[in-house]
Amino acid sequence: MSTATTNLSGAETRDVSDRDVAVGTFVTEGERYYAPAFEDIQKRETPFWRLNLWALLIPWFWAAYRGLWLLFWVALAVDVLAIVCLLQIIKYSPLLAEAEINASANATLVARYTSWLQVFTTTGLVVLIAGRLWLGHVANHWYYRQYSRWRINSETPSGISMKRVVIGAVIMALVMPLTFYRATQQRLDDRACLNQLRAGEQVEGLYSVYGVASPDALLPLMQSQADELTTRRATLDALDELTDAQKSERSRLRSEARQLDRSIGTVEDYQQITARDRFDCGFIDDFPTLARLDPPESVTYRRVPDEAAIANGEVGATMLLRNVKDPVEGRKVSIFTYTAESIDISINYLRASYATFFDTMTSILRQSLIRVEVAFMETPWPVVAFLFLVLSWAYTDRATTVFVASSLVFLAVFELWQIAMQTMALVVVATAICVFVGLPVGIWMAKNKYFRWFTEPVLDVMQTIPSLSYLVPAVAFFGISQPPAVLATVVFAIPPMVKLTALGILQVPESTKEAALAFGASDRQLLRKVELPMAVPSIMAGLNQTIMLALSMATISAFIGAAGLGALVTESLGDAQAGKGLLAGIAIALVAMMIDRILRGVRASFSRI
């Protein structure tokens, strides 16, 4: 950089079109200031008192003008913070004044408001002053950094532009007024807003009854109706003797009048809601979703024995019974409720229509679970413990074997053995399903990029969606206890299996696959003899994660009645027994770590890559 000589002597004469001496091109305006400033930054000789006055006084304008958007946003944040603090004065001063009218009675209030006012005032001022000073200080540094970026990539904003100032002004216009307005207002509480909303709905209902569309038109109509009721009752009251019919007529009139009075009250209340309150509640506080829909038809489906068919000799024939409930008069629901109810109805429909399928699946799951559980629980504990020890002895080091042995002792001593075995059975079945489903899906995912595009987000959702939220439909479809727990566990635990299988296959070098093809491998041989073996480490890592996740689901699935250590944890949660919960939790962790360590050893000794 030769700015030192040029900016002092002949900044104007320099050829600014040359990108190598381009501070002039970059800043476009004010090169005489920025060229030496940048040079000082390069030399690390910027004096501490050098502040960029523009950035100090009107930072957002300066930043937008020069395209330094980072500084623009930071300045906006600093200013908004400071101003919001200061605006609290407007909010609390009247309250303080009101409280001071009766200072002795409201001593705490006065003290509170005074201290709040002080805190807000100081904070606001400090943020404003310190923030601006800091902005003035960093402005040139940030601007220099932008300049460095611009030299690499000419797309980086440079020069000056009024258009950017306009954009900046629009941003500020969008952000500041509403924020400031909100900051000066006492917040209406949620109940007040809700009442407002309800009143609105009622009034709207009255509109349809009276066929008008404003409270001003509504009130006279209602008033005249009320008057009419009063006159009719007065005539009845004037009579000395009343027949029974007249008596009931009178009481009916009375109750009608009461109701009308209430409605009139509501309308009057509604009329008195100020526009500002309406704005505060309906627009500022919450996204103004005004849509209110008719609720979906409330249908339930039930599968019942089909008597007619059975009479015709079809054994066990069933039919779908559709039952429609009468809608609640005038009920309107939000989009959320509408969708949620529709989903409920579809689940109900699916469950009833495909009952055989779901029942079969449930029973398959239950049967396999029972088998595995029996294997774990009926095998005498010394045998299971011995197998664990042998496995860890064969595949891991001595320290791990000691760890496994002490974990087993822990389970035995705390009498958690059988419960732990139940958990194990659940994990084993879930993991087996994960492998049998996850492996082929993973392979397909690796082979087909469109399937991959589709599957990846699905897997992400499966992993992140709270498991409690799909436990409910799982229960709807598969009842409670173990089977839905297994399915929920599979949903939660299968993504790593699928993802890591796909990853392992995709990671096989193209050149290796090419070599296999060059020696005459078919697609199937390529998969079996090259891709899968080379993906084994990745697949094993996936299996490991799947098992860990399955174990961590043990607790959650206890909510729907799955037996095992998780059930112990949920039980202790219900009874607020911290000790019991902790011990069960530790047992889960130990089981997980035992399986993990042993598997890791197996993996290491099998993987040759």
Binding site: S511, A515, R608
Partner: protein
């Protein structure tokens, strides 16, 4: 024609989604590479390549990186489908083969060696070598016997049970070669097999491959970006530039008569001593006498054959003051004096 083991005829490869249209446009409108890229977004990888490789011949494809030589060689076993043109292996059109037949040809007729070895890391050396045999369904017993034989051929006896990662780069490439040889194919495709090795090992392996080749007589297509290697290994050399074969010939042809400036530039730094024969630089007796006066045949002139290389002529010349007579069957075909010889070595003579 029938003795050509590998035969390529007008092979084109255009990469891109609209390759067929691009090919059509090249045919009908004679578009150049830049226009094809601009109009179809397609890249011409191989441009109208034709050559034949005779049985037992080592044919070197030489070119800088990106010249399309690796692409071209992958057409021979149809790892890459040509956009146009035919490729015949042992007289059979490989483009017309069904998948099954193609796999059989790949496994039994063609062995391939890769620059980065591309061994399977999870298999022992022996299982790597027997890979092609295994794919054809051969049982483990015969497979390992053949693999051990191949190991011996590349002097790696006893390494069968190691993993590739336990071997040095040079040894790994020997394994690659053994893998290519194990099924005893007629054709070897060598894709820059020695480029990733250090010079000493490279030279070593080149020598070994040459002596192996002399015994086994495999028809070989050898890819290299190194002209020295091409000259050492190749019976004939094809020089590629931008996807096009610009010249095919023996090393001597290419060095003495480069087809264009590009090839000339390439061969400029090559030592001609061992490449150029006396016949290429000698002048006729009449020409010589016109310049230097009659030759006294009574003097002790050194004598050489027309096929003798310049190295021999230098040797003869240093022991005599007289020009060298190039004779065949007692007839004097030409004369090489010291100036002619020096020009010949320099490469600026009458070549």
């Amino acid at each position: 024609m029938s003795d050509a083991v590998v035969e390529l005829e007008g092979v084109w490869k255009v990469f891109g989604d609209r390759a067929p249209q691009a090919m059509e446009a090249i045919r009908t409108e004679g578009l150049g590479k830049p226009e094809v890229l601009e109009r179809f977004g397609a890249v011409v990888g191989v441009k109208d390549a034709s050559f034949k490789v005779a049985e037992g011949e080592i044919f070197c494809l030489m070119g800088l990186s990106g010249s399309g030589k690796s692409t071209l060689v992958r057409h021979i076993n149809r790892l890459i489908e040509p956009t146009a043109g035919t490729i015949r292996i042992l007289g059979e059109d490989i483009g017309a083969m069904k998948a099954d037949a193609l796999r059989a040809v790949r496994a039994e007729k063609i062995g391939m060696v890769f620059q980065n070895m591309a061994l399977l890391p999870h298999r022992s050396v022996r299982d790597n070598i027997g890979f092609a045999l295994e794919l054809r369904g051969m049982d483990a017993y015969h497979r390992s016997q053949l693999a051990d034989k191949a190991l011996e051929t590349v002097s790696l006896h006893g390494y069968g049970d190691r993993l590739p990662s336990e071997l040095s780069g040079g040894m790994q490439q020997r394994v690659g070669l053994a893998r290519a040889l194990a099924a005893d194919p007629e054709i070897l495709l060598m894709d820059e097999p020695f480029s990733a090795l250090d010079p000493l090992i490279r030279r070593n392996l080149q020598d070994e491959f040459l002596s192996l080749s002399a015994n086994l007589k495999k028809t070989t297509v050898f890819i290299t970006h190194d002209l020295d290697e091409a000259i050492r290994m190749g019976d004939r050399i094809g020089i590629m530039k931008d996807g096009e074969i610009v010249q095919i010939g023996t090393a001597e042809d290419i060095v003495t008569a480069p087809a264009d400036d590009y090839v000339a530039d390439f061969v400029a730094g090559i030592s001609r001593l061992k490449l150029v024969s006396a016949a290429k630089i000698m002048v006729s007796k009449d020409q010589h006498e016109a310049k230097h006066g009659p030759i006294d045949l009574g003097l002790e002139h050194p004598v050489a054959h027309p096929e003798d290389d310049l190295d021999t002529l230098v040797e003869l010349s240093t022991h005599s003051d007289h020009p060298v007579l190039i004779k065949a069957d007692e007839a004097i075909l030409g004369i090489v004096d010291k100036n002619t010889l020096l020009h010949g070595i320099q490469g600026s003579a009458n070549a």
